[in-house]
């Protein structure tokens, strides 16, 4: 892959058969639960946030009932009761493990198709349930269908795949793919009629404020943005918008493997130029990634509940090695010191000596804002004091929890208001939590 530079904007025209895939797991948290509990399938199911506050995942059936993402769970209590909606506490350990299995499937598949580039460099884990792939294939649609079937077979997770020349377009395509029964949407070349169908806010990377500003200046659709004068855009908006403009024109500006952030997670990783074997070097690289990602947390005013570290050798090694381990924090944090310390513990667990590592990275998942942090009533006195300032909505939650067993945990136990969080068993990471089958 070669890049030319224009100012600080790296652009590159993809090779003839070079494609970007965006693989997106459908209703990921719910899907993970459904793999191990068939009784949850084809039913309205939601997964809640930490301490069962908000709805963070919905099955198709729950979505059809009009239950919105991010809504406060107690506000929808009546709907839950009326329609038999099953509400589950989150089990991020399980989701994290299932995520690493899905990513491993993708790594396996890229390895099978390409020889000249290390598969590790062709996969970018964007969040716990999304990844970008960079492939060279004369029939990317066949590849994507095969990959989708493989992921479903191997892990039980269904994904939607968008295929296009750039990441931004692949993201749009994956949204379309979600509503198709075959789950794959291929955009061999981007037409104006295609772009006209999307508003600016539908585009990945264009937030509400940017979309409003664009709209006020006459740019309302993806087509409008693609056709806008780039110098003028550069003057009025950030370089990210200019990159998006190029990407809509099928000029790739976002190489696989940059620091990525989104509301769901923050990831920081790098491939090593020369392979690394020494623990101390890995620890140093990891600490830098963690510091960088933690800075992003603080800039965004976010805290993380969960830190994951992953480590991989080259796929071409005789015995390729890929491990990922996560740690759930008792209290969400944004402290570099705390996160570097925890990251070190995870590295200790997954590091094996005498291997030559190609890539190391860290992911922060289950992020919350400062407001979310104040809802952690039962964590410590300090947060309880912060709670004194919290609004009456919080009091209502307490009352509700005290009144009735609203949520049906997957274990079928009713929940008292003092003990929130009855997550599903950690089927894949805890021996005591194995799936039990009556035979």
């Amino acid at each position: 892959m070669s890049f030319t530079q224009q100012g600080n904007l790296k652009q590159h025209s993809p090779k003839k058969d070079q494609w970007v895939l965006l693989v997106d797991c459908n209703q990921f948290f719910v899907s993970c639960e459904q793999v191990f509990n068939p009784k949850l399938r084809k039913k309205p199911v939601v997964v809640l946030s930490n301490h069962d506050g908000c709805i963070v995942a919905r099955s198709k059936e729950a979505k059809a009932l009009g239950i919105p993402m991010g809504a406060a769970a107690f506000e929808w209590e009546e709907v839950f009761k009326k329609h038999g909606v099953i509400a589950l506490s989150p089990n991020h350990t399980l989701y994290s493990d299932m995520s690493s299995r899905v990513m491993q499937c993708m790594l396996d598949e890229i390895g099978a198709f390409s020889e000249e580039m290390d598969p590790v460099d062709r996969l970018e884990i964007y969040s716990v349930d999304e990844a970008f792939l960079d492939i060279v294939d004369t029939d990317p649609l066949r590849f994507a269908k095969h990959l989708r079937a493989k992921i479903q077979r191997w892990t039980g997770i269904l994904v939607s795949i968008g295929i296009a020349k750039t990441k931004t377009l692949a993201k749009l395509c994956s949204e379309i793919a979600k509503d198709l029964s075959e789950g794959v949407f291929f955009l061999p070349s981007c037409s104006d009629s295609f772009l006209k169908e999307f508003s600016a806010i539908d585009i990945w990377g264009i937030g509400k404020k940017t979309a409003e500003k664009l709209s006020s200046l006459g740019i309302k659709t993806a087509l409008d943005l693609k056709n806008a004068n780039e110098l003028w855009i550069r003057r009025h908006f950030s370089v990210f918008v200019v990159r998006t403009l190029y990407e809509l024109q099928e000029i790739s500006c976002m190489p696989i493997e940059e620091v990525r952030q989104c509301r769901k997670s923050i990831l920081c990783s790098r491939s090593f130029g020369a392979k690394v074997e020494q623990y101390s070097d890995l620890k140093e690289a990891l600490s830098c990634h963690i510091a960088s990602a933690a800075e992003t947390l603080r800039e965004e005013g976010l805290f993380t509940h969960c830190i994951e570290v992953f480590l991989m050798t080259s796929r071409f090694d005789r015995n390729p090695y890929y491990r990922q381990e996560a740690l759930r924090l008792a209290t969400p944090t944004q402290s570099s010191f705390e996160l570097i310390e925890k990251g070190g513990l995870l590295l200790d667990r997954i590091y094996l000596p005498s291997l030559f590592y190609k890539k190391i990275g860290v992911v922060f998942t289950d992020l919350c804002s400062h407001e979310g942090r104040q809802l952690d009533l039962f964590t410590s006195e300090k947060t309880a004091k912060q709670h004194e300032k919290a609004c009456k909505v919080l009091d209502q939650i307490n009352q509700r929890f005290g009144k009735n067993a609203l949520f049906i945990g997957s274990q079928g136990t009713s929940r008292s208001w003092k003990r929130e969080n009855h997550p599903s068993p950690s089927y894949t990471t805890c021996w005591d939590d194995l799936l039990k089958i009556q035979i």
Binding site: R41, R153, W154, T155, L435, K436, I437, Q438
Partner: protein
Amino acid sequence: MRPVEMIPIGSHSEIKTPMAEALVAAGFPSPAEDYIEYRLDLNELLIDHPASTFFVKVQGQSMQEANIHSGDILIVDRSIEAKDGKIVIAVVGGEFTVKRLRIQGNRTILLPENPAYPTLEIRAGMELEIWGVVTYVIHPAR
């Protein structure tokens, strides 16, 4: 008589004495150094595809003649094709079960391995999902 010149032995002077052949900086030299291998690892032996391999625990007697007993842990690989004769984890009517899969022409049958238990034939309209193929059974020596 000339006085003996006393030459102090300072910290910079060296007294060479023969020593045993050098200790290598990294540790004791070993003829086996070039052949370092890892201890035997059960994961390597038992798990071909970590991404698609899961463990389940079973309770019940219906598979005793296949040497699967109550309390055993099964290693299950979802990537293996479920062929006739394989022991599988299946989901029938929303419930998990472990049975031997028989495919005879267009008939699909789930067989227990215990004469006291009924055979289950999958008929039209019944929902069957093969969740994975059992590769190993783990139980203590009895």
